[in-house]
């Protein structure tokens, strides 16, 4: 079993860590919710189950919108989920002064773009097929709520698996994202889906909302991640723990 990880100062007890509540939303058709909750637990925080039809966010300090095929990806990936009652709460909380940290992974990223919390959109992979592989990413921005545990420019390997993963936006939006440092992750070595400018993940202007196509929650445990060893995904969850405990919301 992987030991608890955190890059926080040593005097924090695990009780302090577990006081951080990270919500994981399940929509009909969500697949990676239990994996995301496991990743949250490994970081030491408490994972809180949220159901798309819930009216309240249950006092969570951060939210993960996990991957999967919510509503079958029918119509457009994320198009129907975006209208879930709980999403209205997430959108408000993300835009509020408290800047609730929100991470959208794969289908979660698609839901965030459909919700206009993040710009651009995803279309079918340029090769039109589903692709599952261990993918190298470069962390381009370590100032977001979800990336502070990484070093700038660090290369990490996490699984990628999607069918509609080609990130697109108009040139103006892309230029603005680059200029504002909001491209958070880029594909390295191989662009698996034709995404513009090799973009794998982006953030909103405040840096509390991050979306990416690859799956950090599948790289948190030795033996079950990339090449049976990789645990690079843990950094996402320890980062948000840091964000929460360092008093962003205190």
């Amino acid at each position: 079993m992987t030991e608890l990880i955190t890059d926080l100062s040593a005097d924090l007890s695990s009780a302090d860590l577990s006081s951080a509540r990270v919500g994981v939303i399940t929509f009909p058709g969500t697949l990676d919710d239990r994996d995301a909750a496991r990743a949250v637990r490994f970081s030491g925080a408490t994972a809180v189950e949220l159901w798309h039809a819930d009216a309240e966010l249950k006092d969570v300090d951060a939210v993960v919108i996990p991957g999967g095929f919510s509503y079958g990806d029918y119509l457009r990936a994320g198009a129907i989920s975006r209208f879930a009652p709980l999403m209205a709460k997430v959108i408000d909380a993300a835009n509020s002064e408290a800047k609730l940290p929100v991470l959208g992974i794969c289908n979660g990223f698609q839901i965030l773009t459909e919700s206009h919390l993040l710009p651009g959109s995803m279309v079918k992979n340029d090769h039109l097929k589903f692709i599952c592989r261990d993918q190298v990413l470069r962390v381009e921005n370590t100032a977001t709520a979800w990336t502070s545990a990484f070093d700038a420019g660090q290369e990490i390997t996490v699984p990628l698996k999607n069918q509609d993963g080609q990130y697109i936006a108009d040139e103006k939006t892309l230029d603005a994202l680059e200029a504002e440092g909001r491209v958070v992750f880029r594909y390295v070595g191989f662009n698996p889906n034709g995404s513009r400018r090799d973009i794998a993940g982006i953030a909103n202007a405040a840096g509390n909302v991050v979306g990416l196509m690859p799956h950090p929650e599948h790289a948190v445990e030795t033996g079950f991640g990339p090449d049976h060893t990789g645990t690079d995904g843990l950094g996402f969850f320890s980062s948000v723990l840091h964000t929460i405990l360092s008093g962003a919301r205190a």
């Binding site: 994996d35 496991r38 990806d73 692709i131 592989r133 698996k161 079950f224």
Partner: protein, 603 residues
């Protein structure tokens, strides 16, 4: 739930009373695939002619696919050759939707392989997709959470013009459905051989995990318990061939538009999985059965005959996608993503609450009775009144003639007589670049192997490995194997070798092999030479299972895999399941580090 189908129907209904008073009515039993002796037997069982609806039920349930009428006499060996030690870990054996094996610590696994060969030839994407959907429902109906799938595949020659259509359609169908369900694909096979040109083999294996106390069986007991159908609505899917039933009174042959192809809805199935698991967790359902081939005919007759009583159902309560369906068609429909359950009256409200949460449609069809009869009404009038056992279990059994093919001696004598090539290096390269040896990552990269976070091994390893218990590392290994060419040369030894290969793959991963499932893909049982291949293969497999001490817990038989009179090579696909006390001990295939020593074990 309200239902509006009753008032929309306007055909004449063939009731039991009508059948009794009109014995001379011509019935389309031959068109429905029944033989004259079988039709005579139905008349004898009922003591009158069957109604249209009864004819529909018997014809689908007595088909080769549902009744195993040609294979049954041979499959008995799987039971007869089981020793008490082999049964030690067996919680549920052959006969239920899938076998269940004890893996310790109160955990159990259920697994099964099935074929969807013919539908995949007609419509590759949907055929393969619904193949995954069907086997996964078998696993759910045992009370388990599905945790992985595998897909042993056989295609025709790689350069044949039709092969691309099949390969790309089938692979994306398996991925499209399995990926959407959140089931890691942990292994399979891809073989190209021209014998499979008109008969690709699309076999699908699913495995699920459960606690011992969660095992659910397909039986309807407890008089007064309610019978409910839930999931997708019933459409005309899969009854294209039986369109003679479009006219329930057999006089006005109206042309019917019935889709021969079923389209899968993986989203609906994913919701169904979660919804069933919630029902199991709260002990809301007493009996449960998935709807596959033969749809409601199969579910009602099996549930009723496995219980101790009978069942009374009102068919107009079935929610329909197509309101023009006749009762016979509703009974035969193979619409996907449906389940039938038995619920005590006290649990009705709890059941409805779970359906509401997951937004799943359902309708109460009737209840369990103590009459020993399966009674189906249409708007209050009885259209089926049968002993359910006669439908589900007492179908015809054939001892079909078989004999060893005369050409076999010549074939076996035709051994390799060429020269050993001087340039072995070139030979190796040539071998490795053949489509059957080359890397399969072009297939497996289209499958999700990470979802659920418990995959300890998948492609390119010899066996897939899945963790079952996160706290202890308890897990299982699975491998599927077959070699049609070996079986063609010697079906008995070929079947043994298939088991031996799967067994070795599981053992080399570090697991202890425990149980077997098989999918027996053969040509026509009416061909005595094919029947011989079948009999020999089953004997070989049963003997080898006894030798290795692993029982067959379930599987599937797929016959009539032949085009233009030419059968495929006999292809018994064997799946072996093994157990790990801790999957951290798994051993991946291939060299990992420089400097390691290489040993060759065995003979």
């Amino acid at each position: 739930m309200t239902n509006s189908s009753a008032e929309k129907t306007s055909f004449n209904i063939d009731t039991v009373a009508n059948a009794a008073s009109t014995p001379e009515t011509e019935l389309p039993w031959a068109e429905l695939g029944l033989k004259d002796n079988e039709f005579a037997r139905i008349n004898e069982i009922l003591g009158r002619r069957p109604t249209a609806a009864e004819l529909a039920m018997y014809s689908v349930m007595w088909s080769e696919h549902c009744s195993y009428k040609s294979s049954k006499v041979h499959l008995r060996q799987f039971g007869d050759k089981v020793t008490p030690e082999m049964k030690e870990h067996l919680l549920v054996g052959i006969g239920e939707n899938a076998g269940v094996v004890d893996i310790g610590d109160g955990w159990a696994v259920t697994f099964k392989v099935e074929s969807h060969n013919h539908p995949s030839f007609v419509e590759p994407y949907q055929g393969a997709a619904t193949g995954i959907g069907g086997i996964v429902r078998d696993i759910i109906s045992m009370g388990a959470r599905p945790v992985a799938v595998m897909d042993p595949l056989r295609f025709g020659a790689i350069d044949h013009p039709d092969t691309a259509r099949l390969v790309h359609g089938i692979v994306s169908g398996i991925g499209g459905y399995g990926n959407s369900l959140g089931l890691p694909n942990i292994g399979g096979e891809v073989v190209f051989d021209s014998v499979y040109q008109g008969n690709p083999l699309v076999n699908a294996l699913a495995v699920g995990v459960l606690r011992h106390e969660d095992i659910r069986l397909a039986n309807a007991s407890g008089v007064g318990n309610r019978v409910v159908l839930f999931g997708a609505r019933t459409g005309g899917d899969g009854i294209g061939g039986a369109s003679v039933l479009a006219s329930e009174s057999f006089d006005d042959a109206k042309p019917s538009k019935r889709p021969a192809v079923q389209v899968g809805d993986p989203f609906a199935e994913k919701v169904l999985i979660e919804c069933c698991l919630e029902l199991f967790k709260a002990s809301i359902v007493d009996g449960i059965q998935d709807l596959g081939a033969a749809g409601i005919s199969c579910a009602t007759s099996e549930l009723a005959s496995n219980g101790e009583g009978g069942m009374h159902v009102e068919l107009t309560s079935v929610l329909l996608r197509d309101p023009t369906l006749t009762p016979g068609e509703i009974l035969m429909s193979e619409s996907q993503e449906r389940m039938m359950a038995v619920v005590t009256p006290e649990n009705v409200a709890a059941f409805e609450a779970v359906m509401a949460k997951w937004d799943v449609e359902y309708s109460w069809l009737g209840e369990v009775t103590d009459t020993g009869r399966l009674i189906i009404d249409w708007d209050g009038e009885t259209i089926v009144d049968v002993d359910p056992r006669t439908v589900a279990h007492d179908g015809p059994v054939y001892n079909r003639p078989f004999h060893r093919p005369e050409w076999l001696d010549a074939l076996q004598a035709d051994s390799f007589k060429g020269e050993v090539p001087a340039d072995l290096g070139a030979a190796v390269v040539e071998l490795m670049s053949s489509p059957n040896m080359a890397s399969k990552s072009w297939v497996t990269d289209q499958y999700d192997r990470y979802v659920q976070g418990n995959t300890a091994q998948a492609m390119p390893d010899d066996a897939g490995v899945i963790r079952v218990d996160e706290s202890t590392g308890l897990g299982v290994a699975l491998s599927t194997d077959a070699n049609g060419r070996y079986c063609y040369l010697n079906p008995r030894e070929g079947a043994k070798l298939a088991l031996a290969e799967a067994y070795r793959n599981v053992a080399t991963s570090g697991a202890r092999p425990l149980a077997v499932t098989d999918c027996l893909n053969f040509g026509s049982p009416e061909d005595p030479e094919v029947m011989w291949q079948f009999a020999e293969s089953v004997t070989g497999l049963a003997d080898a299972c006894q030798e290795l001490g692993v029982p067959v817990t379930g599987g599937n038989v797929s016959l009539y895999n032949q085009t233009g009179g030419v059968p495929i090579h006999p292809t018994p696909v064997v799946g072996v399941l093994g157990v790990f006390d801790d999957v951290a001990r798994r051993t991946p295939s291939g060299w990992r580090e420089d400097g390691q020593a290489i040993y060759l074990l065995g003979t």
